[in-house]
């Protein structure tokens, strides 16, 4: 009962309520969250991540009496579609989804359709620890302002992976990569757009090929066709030298990673600087695999959690969003043996004890140090991703 009343109240006056964000409010919220079951809809394709979420659930139960149930999705849009169906059916409370792991297009779609609860992120007690100034991607999701409607929990950056035993000196720019592929045909590929990692590769190529990449920060407007012109000849020249002569593509990041593990490709890439180390630790990759970034930097972004407008347990969901920002949880996620995800926290804002947790983390043999990771390029506006994806499919996706 209490929960439902609150849900209605939250939808009606969320902005007012969240703006105050006082300590007293938080302890009252924690008290209401106790005993709730939070259905956390998150991609379930990686056992390492599933184990981590299970561990977070154990912490939530021990510290707050909140039960976390991980709903393992094949695609985040499955959860978005569920909330959309509930919205279409006129539901305002008692929804099936309490918390979603989200970013980019999915967030933009939910924000636009008013399917989100909040703003809540900036009133979480641990929000003060987030490195908003140093990591602008914590409040800018693919240039979409988050407005407190989602709370960040991990930083990601594009890194390339290679087996140093077979390829000691990999190419370090988009153009050099094409030259290398020409000399070593069949040993490089990228996930098939509109997969997000495949699109990230295209966006990374745009950063290198566009005379003025700053246009990527504005919505793709009339100048779009002229702006992306250099991309197509680059791909036309690259494709004959790709794995399977570009007659087939891997589906996504894990499929590309599997090709590296099987020795089918010699260079792959991932949106997680710690992926290679974590895979080595799990015994899935040779311990000679190393990572590298391109000269001039690679694209980076953040992963978030958001709460649907009709969540059944919005209090429990906020407790979890706050717990995900806890320094102990963040340090565990950064451990190469666990996930190798980069933290969203500001080291300067932490206590000495918490900072020591991060200093003690094993980085893993394949993970670059923060200084070696180089500059992070901001995600282009989401409209670029959509249009490049559409154009790629028209040019390459409908005939081998």
């Amino acid at each position: 009962m209490n929960r439902r009343e609150f849900g209605g109240l939250a939808v009606a006056g969320a902005a007012l309520w969240a703006g105050r964000g006082m300590a007293g409010d938080w302890s009252a919220l924690v008290a209401r969250a106790k005993g709730q079951e939070v259905f956390f809809h998150a991609w379930g394709g990686d056992p390492k991540i599933n184990d981590f979420i299970a561990w977070v659930g154990q912490q939530a139960m021990d510290q707050y009496g909140v039960k976390l149930t991980h709903v393992k999705l094949a695609a985040t849009s499955d959860a978005v579609a569920r909330v959309q169906a509930e919205q279409a059916a006129g539901k305002t409370t008692g929804g099936a989804v309490d918390l979603i792991w989200i970013n980019g297009e999915n967030f933009a779609a939910m924000k636009k359709a008013a399917m989100l609860f909040g703003p809540f992120a900036e009133s979480l007690p641990n929000w003060a620890l987030v490195d908003v100034a140093g990591k602008p991607a914590t409040v800018n999701d693919f240039t979409e302002a988050t407005l407190g409607l989602e709370s960040p929990w991990a930083m990601a950056q594009l890194v390339f992976e290679h087996d140093s035993a077979k390829l000691p000196a990999p190419p370090r720019s988009i153009v050099a990569l094409a030259d290398w592929a020409k000399a070593n045909p069949g040993r490089f590929t990228y996930p098939q757009p509109p997969d997000y990692l495949g699109l990230t590769f295209l966006k990374q190529a745009l950063y290198a090929l566009l005379p003025d990449p700053t246009v990527l920060q504005a919505p793709a407007a009339e100048g779009y066709d002229a702006a992306v012109t250099p991309l197509w000849p680059y791909l036309d020249a690259l494709h004959p030298n790709l794995w399977r002569q570009a007659k087939a593509f891997p589906a996504n990041e894990p499929a590309l990673g599997q090709l590296l593990a099987d020795g089918e490709v010699m260079i792959s890439f991932a949106f997680n600087p710690g992926r290679a180390s974590a895979e080595i630790a799990a015994g899935n990759l040779a311990n000679t695999v190393r990572t590298f970034v391109l000269d001039g930097g690679t694209i980076g972004n953040a992963s978030y959690v958001a709460i649907p407008f009709d969540a059944s347990a919005p209090e429990g969901a906020q407790v979890l969003a706050n717990l995900l920002l806890d320094p102990e949880v963040q340090a565990r996620a950064q451990d190469a043996d666990v996930l190798g995800f980069q933290t969203v926290l500001n080291m300067a804002a932490l206590t000495d004890a918490d900072r020591a947790r991060f200093d003690a983390i094993k980085r893993g043999p394949a993970t670059l140090s923060p200084s070696d990771l180089g500059p992070t390029l901001l995600e282009p506006h989401a409209s670029w991703m959509t249009r490049i994806g559409d154009d790629w499919v028209k040019r390459y996706g409908v005939a081998p």
């Binding site: 259905f39 809809h41 991609w43 379930g44 394709g45 990686d46 056992p47 184990d51 709903v71 393992k72 999705l73 094949a74 695609a75 849009s77 499955d78 959860a79 978005v80 579609a81 569920r82 959309q84 169906a85 509930e86 059916a89 099936a96 980019g104 297009e105 999915n106 779609a109 359709a113 069949g186 040993r187 098939q192 509109p194 794995w243 399977r244 002569q245 007659k247 087939a248 593509f249 589906a251 996504n252 894990p254 499929a255 990673g257 599997q258 593990a261 099987d262 020795g263 089918e264 015994g283 899935n284 990759l285 040779a286 959509t386 499919v393 028209k394 996706g397 409908v398 005939a399 081998p400």
Partner: protein, 530 residues
């Protein structure tokens, strides 16, 4: 209970949700037809639905004929293997096959580098080829055992006698099978064959793993549009679902044409009086080879999943992993148990309801309810693509105060019922009604006749059908996900979510567990048969 209401209940369960879902799809999709026709990949996507669907069904049907006609020595082990082969979930079967035939797969690893000279995998297009050959192979491997099981159930003693008569007239074994047995078996095999045709054209998981992607077959493209993050493609997906439905209709008509041509051919052949005894010797090795491949590839695929589930580092070209570990199993064990318990509970409940409804409906059949109507109706959930109707059903169910587990059970029932009717209708109708007359003259009432005479006599068919129902329920992905709002975690929802991560180790563990329970059900059913 009035048994007269049973056929009606059955029809309502089968047809109402389908109509509701289809109605919503029509409403959503009508506006996007122009956008669909403008999609440049449409023609190829349609051909990739029709081609592998028709070819795989044709090959599977011919293989069933070849194996039953040629009666190779391998038939006995194949028959014993049918249960586990049927129980193997499509996604797991596809992944096993993909690992076998890929250029870095088990077959190449076993031959490298000593025989091939390859130290790195060759850049060969053996998987996801643009013609859908790998997909066709996967479909043939998965569907032939199902058809073979159905055909073996249809083969009866009179058929064998017919073949003996033909043999005494000097006909070869293959010729006599083709001319006198097949024409009797095929009509009973027809519905399963058409179901296979529709499935082969509309399945998503096998096509995603084995099929081409430039473009994808239409069914895969529909599910991609359905789950597009921008949420703007649903109406495109809906109109593509309607097109998929029309394509299945077209394929059914084409199949009917092939049936007529085939029967004309057989009848012409029989008028020539050709004995063709030489065919036996020629076809025997072909039948043996076919049976061998049908057994070997899925078994090797399953074995590769088993090895992956305990593999440490396993690099090309090592034929076996460098080290073995039980980490995957021990970490997954609690989840595997929980998901197994829920999957099994759901499957047994749904199958029990489906069996009860089907028996009641079949029992109540009278000339006023010609069986033909039922046959056509049960077919609807089998040929309408799931993705086309489930979002509509989900939207309708959200408004009802139904707990997620009940909604999922209802969804499973829609797709389990057709298979239960398919498995039971033949044997139930073939039961000699004069037995009932004899029992009635001895004073037994209709309930007693049904429960103590007719059903016990049909025990083997009941057991086999129950096992089939359990296997179908355990394999359901979309109904579980969409109707349960993601809150119902079964082995299959876990396995498909994991399949998106391409992690062969954990998938191996889930694939094996997913195959284990239905295989157990089939083994029990085979025991009941003896």
């Amino acid at each position: 209970m009035r048994l007269g209401a049973a056929p009606l209940t059955l029809r309502v369960v089968l047809v109402l949700p389908v109509l509701a879902g289809l109605g919503l799809t029509l409403k959503q999709g009508a506006g996007s037809l122009a956008a669909l026709l403008a999609w440049p990949g449409l023609l190829r996507a349609c051909l990739l639905s029709l081609g592998p669907g028709l070819v795989a069904t044709l090959i599977s049907t011919l293989l069933v004929g070849l194996i039953l006609g040629g009666r190779p020595r391998a038939l006995a082990p194949l028959q014993r293997l049918l249960a586990p082969l049927l129980a193997l979930p499509h996604a797991a079967a596809a992944l096993g096959l993909a690992f076998l035939i890929s250029p870095s797969g088990w077959i190449v690893r076993a031959l490298s580098p000593w025989a091939t000279g390859w130290h790195d995998p060759p850049d060969l297009l053996t998987l996801n080829d643009p013609w859908g050959l790998a997909l066709t192979l996967g479909l043939v491997l998965k569907e032939t055992p199902f058809l073979l099981l159905m055909a073996l159930a249809a083969l009866s003693r009179p058929m064998a006698q017919r073949q003996m008569v033909a043999a005494t007239l000097g006909y070869g074994r293959v010729t006599s099978f083709a001319l006198v047995v097949w024409p009797g078996v095929y009509p009973q095999l027809r519905l399963p064959v058409l179901a296979v045709l529709a499935y082969a054209m509309t399945n998503v998981d096998m096509a995603l793993i084995l099929g081409p992607s430039l473009p994808h077959p239409l069914s895969v493209q529909i599910s991609l549009w359905m789950t597009d993050p921008s949420l703007t493609q649903q109406s495109l997906a809906a109109s593509a679902s309607l097109l998929q439905l029309a394509l299945v209709g077209l394929a059914l008509i084409m199949w009917r044409g092939a049936e007529l041509a085939g029967s004309a051919l057989l009848s012409t052949l029989s008028h020539t009086g050709i004995r063709a005894t030489g065919l036996d010797r020629a076809l025997q090795p072909v039948a043996s080879l076919a049976a061998l491949i049908l057994m070997l590839l899925p078994v090797l695929g399953l074995a590769s999943l088993a090895v992956w589930s305990v593999a440490g580092l396993w690099q090309f070209p090592d034929a076996l992993p460098a080290s073995l570990t039980l980490t995957v199993w021990s970490r997954a064990a609690p989840d595997l148990w929980a998901a197994s318990a829920l999957s099994l509970g759901l499957a047994v409940t749904v199958t029990a309801v489906a069996l009860t409804l089907t028996i009641a409906a079949l029992y109540a059949e009278t000339p006023r309810h010609p069986p033909k109507a039922l046959q056509t109706l049960i077919f609807i959930p089998l040929i309408v693509p799931q993705i086309a109707i489930l979002p509509g059903i989900a939207q309708a169910l959200i408004t009802l105060p139904l707990p997620p587990l009940a909604a999922v059970a209802l969804g499973h029932l829609i797709f389990v019922l057709p298979y239960v009717v398919l498995g039971l209708a033949g044997p139930f109708r073939a039961w000699n009604l004069r037995m009932a007359e004899v029992a009635a003259t001895l004073g037994a009432g209709p309930w007693r006749i049904l429960l103590t005479l007719r059903l016990p006599m049909l025990a083997p068919a009941l057991a086999a059908t129950a096992a089939l129902g359990i296997a179908v329920s355990i394999g359901q992905y979309l109904p579980t996900l969409l109707l349960g709002g993601g809150r119902i975690t079964t082995l299959t929802t876990e396995a498909v979510a994991l399949a998106s991560g391409a992690n062969r180790r954990i998938l191996g563990a889930y694939g094996l567990t997913q195959a284990f329970w239905p295989a157990l059900a089939f083994l029990f059913a085979q025991r009941a048969r003896r």
